[in-house]
């Protein structure tokens, strides 16, 4: 369990118990931002770099404020400045080049980049984004970063011996970026590694990459790892060895079918539990989300539980995304009050020791 969660507890928090509420990161972009992007990319339109920057700033303010209004304890700008989780970073790292779109499924494509030479740190990736968001809110800001394993796996590797070597080289760059973010004031970093679900046997590579990422990062900086849509039995309990404070896991989408995986051996880190499904465009009721939160209490005690959506909300209609966050926060506060009142009695099984 991690000691750095309480720094995010609001001063006026109403309950004794505190279930930190957060989001994974991405959020639906306002329609006008997409329109502004079209104008920016249209050579005929009178819409320059400054206009485009202003549009992104406005969107970041609006969505950060939307997270605040939903009552979240930690907020994100909804990744308004990012197009896609690999492309955004690949454009900022020396060594990547783009050769055109490739198919993911159907007519969904992505500009899968190629690593053609040694990857090197050039301009900062996220410090400006962080500073802007932090200046737009009084709440603590969480910074999601695509992890090195995913940055390596979802690119063509032309330059490194294998994907592990590329991931390690990228991990050193992520470490450099986090140091800069920490200098700028960031205290909550989330590493996104969705590619681990594709190739769960590579968990040792992700673990080694994380060791490099956290090297010399102060302990008060909270580091989370987000993984989604995989067979968790293939990475648990091995991931408990990872040097992170929190695991942010998608579980609502599968109706907690995989919850038992995490009960034995004992879940020793903090659990950021997905309690709303981002692939269902209906807002779950507060009562339903309360039940989902209680699923988390079958795995960890309240002190180790964080409440979060399954994954980024960006594919949902914006009002649905907002509704899910608002109900999620309300449900968390209700469960806290119930815990305070001693109304929740959830038995956690006594697991076998991890080294058994």
């Amino acid at each position: 369990m991690s000691d750095n969660k309480d720094q995010f507890r609001p001063e006026d928090h109403e309950n004794d118990h505190f279930l930190l509420t957060s989001v994974v990161g991405s959020y639906p972009k306002p329609k006008w931002l997409n329109r502004a992007k079209e104008l920016y990319e249209d050579d005929e339109a009178d819409f320059d770099e400054d206009n485009w920057q202003e549009a992104k700033d406005d969107a970041a303010r609006v969505i950060t404020n939307e997270h605040e209004r939903a009552g979240l304890d930690t907020v994100v700008d909804g990744e308004m400045r990012r197009n896609e989780m690999v492309e955004f970073f690949a454009h900022r790292i020396d060594g990547y080049e783009f050769n055109g779109p490739v198919k993911v499924w159907g007519h969904n494509y992505f500009d899968k980049p190629s690593v053609v030479s040694e990857v090197e740190y050039d301009e900062s990736w996220l410090v400006d984004e962080y500073k802007f968001t932090a200046s737009a809110t009084d709440r603590p800001v969480k910074v999601p970063i695509t992890g090195p394993y995913t940055l390596a796996s979802w690119a063509f590797n032309e330059a490194y011996e294998d994907d592990a070597e590329l991931a390690y080289a990228l991990a050193d760059l992520v470490n450099e970026e986090i140091e800069k973010l920490v200098d700028a004031g960031a205290r909550y970093i989330q590493i996104d590694e969705p590619a681990l679900a594709t190739t769960p046997d590579d968990h040792a590579i992700v673990g080694e990459a994380l060791e490099r990422i956290v090297a010399d990062i102060p302990e008060e900086v909270r580091i989370g790892l987000h993984v989604c849509y995989g067979d968790y039995s293939r990475i648990y309990p091995e991931i408990l060895e990872f040097p992170v404070d929190e695991f942010d896991l998608e579980l609502a989408n599968g109706d907690y079918e995989q919850l038992d995986v995490f009960k034995d051996p004992e879940f020793t880190a903090d659990l950021a539990l997905g309690v709303v499904d981002v692939h269902v465009a209906e807002v779950e009721s507060v009562e339903q989300i309360e039940e989902n939160i209680k699923k988390g209490l079958e795995v960890v005690p309240p002190e180790q539980l964080v409440v979060s959506p399954d994954c980024g909300l960006k594919l949902l209609p914006r009002e649905v995304a907002y509704g899910k966050m608002e109900n999620m926060v309300q449900a968390a506060r209700n469960v806290e009050a119930d815990l305070d009142a001693g109304n929740i009695d959830i038995e956690r099984e006594t697991p076998t020791p991890a080294d058994d």
């Binding site: 050769n99 779109p101 490739v102 198919k103 993911v104 499924w105 494509y109 063509f156 594709t198």
Partner: protein, 348 residues
């Protein structure tokens, strides 16, 4: 194992023919990606069901014309249709079948790619979908040798879900019947590539391996063409390979990009068909190989097999090429054609 055939029987003076080809399933040209995105949409119910309208058909026709032109410009020895309509990749022949429901999006092997899970709910019957693609391609090939591409029966059964036949062996047999009927409707083709990645990725166990070989044999027998069975993403388990050699096929393909040692071991230990396909260019990496390097790898493989000389060596990418950006796919084809020419003039 008694049923293993050793086929080092060729006369020493045979000259090997080097044939550049691909396993098909090409990326769409970028303009077609855009046009089809707009015409079809991005959701799973927007994907090809076999009854697409005129406008969409016209885009595919133009794109087919283009990728056939790319192969002709590169001087590939075999021309494929390109399988540009195969939204569900190797599961396509089922995805357009009336006896099949397409359900959720599922992962395509260990890739960051997805297809609609085809669930077989009724008796399978051939649709002629692939045959009509090949007929359209045949009109464009100007007499160049046409190559058909189908999923192998074991892989197609593996990619699908059976909600009708009830028994694994019956299901595989039904898929083999279905593919044989589809192949029977083909126009004249020089070669048929049967793609069998599941033989590696989800290897058949005892009994299954023999049935997989029989199913392949059945599909292969349905066409009057040279049949290449091409497994990829590794090497076959020994027993699976040994059983595969019992099928009446002309060549087995080997993915030397992802695994050299085990593939070589299989050939050295169990022999090979008279023809062979060598997956030597990486279908999943933008790094474009030198033609000379491909030629050297051909010589290296042949050098490891002192007693064997093949009648035909197919040079191919190890996998389908839809993983690549369009311009890189074009370059890979050019490299294969050039490598085959180099191998022809400097035989090992």
């Amino acid at each position: 194992m008694e049923n293993i055939k050793r086929r080092y029987t060729l006369a020493e003076c045979t000259m090997t023919e080097y044939v550049s080809t691909t396993p098909g399933l090409y990326p769409l040209p970028d303009w077609a990606k855009d046009d089809l995105s707009h015409l079809k949409g991005h959701q799973k119910h927007d994907l090809i069901s076999g009854d697409e309208g005129e406008e969409i058909t016209a885009v595919y026709e133009e794109a087919r014309d283009e990728v056939i032109g790319v192969q002709q410009d590169a001087s590939l020895d075999r021309i494929v249709e390109g399988q540009l309509r195969w939204d569900d990749m190797l599961a396509h022949p089922l995805a357009v079948n009336d006896a099949v429901e397409t359900r959720g999006i599922v992962r395509y092997y260990d890739n960051n790619n997805f297809y609609r899970e085809p669930v077989v709910t009724d008796d399978l019957a051939a649709t002629g979908d692939v045959a009509s693609e090949l007929e359209a391609a045949a009109d464009l090939t100007d007499g160049d040798a046409l190559q058909a591409v189908l999923p192998g029966p074991y892989s197609l059964a593996d990619l699908a879900t059976d909600d009708h036949y009830g028994d694994e062996a019956d299901f595989l047999a039904a898929i083999a019947d279905f593919l044989a009927d589809e192949a029977d409707a083909f126009p004249a083709v020089e070669t048929l590539f049967l793609l069998e990645p599941s033989l590696v990725e989800n290897a058949p166990d005892d009994g299954q391996d023999e049935r997989a070989s029989e199913a392949i044999d059945q599909v292969a027998s349905a066409v009057d063409a040279d049949v290449v069975v091409h497994p990829y993403w590794g090497a076959l388990e020994e027993k699976v390979y040994a059983h595969l050699l019992d099928a009446d096929i002309d060549a087995v393909g080997f993915d030397f990009v992802s695994n050299q040692d085990d593939n070589l071991y299989n050939i050295q230990e169990y022999g090979a068909t008279d023809d062979i396909a060598l997956g030597l260019a990486d279908g999943q990496n933008t790094l474009v190989e030198d033609p000379e390097a491909i030629r050297d790898r051909v010589e290296w493989v042949e050098g490891q097999l002192p007693t064997a000389e093949f009648e035909t060596v197919y040079l191919t990418t190890n996998t389908e090429t839809f993983y690549l950006p369009y311009a890189k796919y074009v370059e890979k084809l050019e490299v294969l054609a050039e490598a085959a020419d180099l191998a022809e003039v400097t035989p090992a």
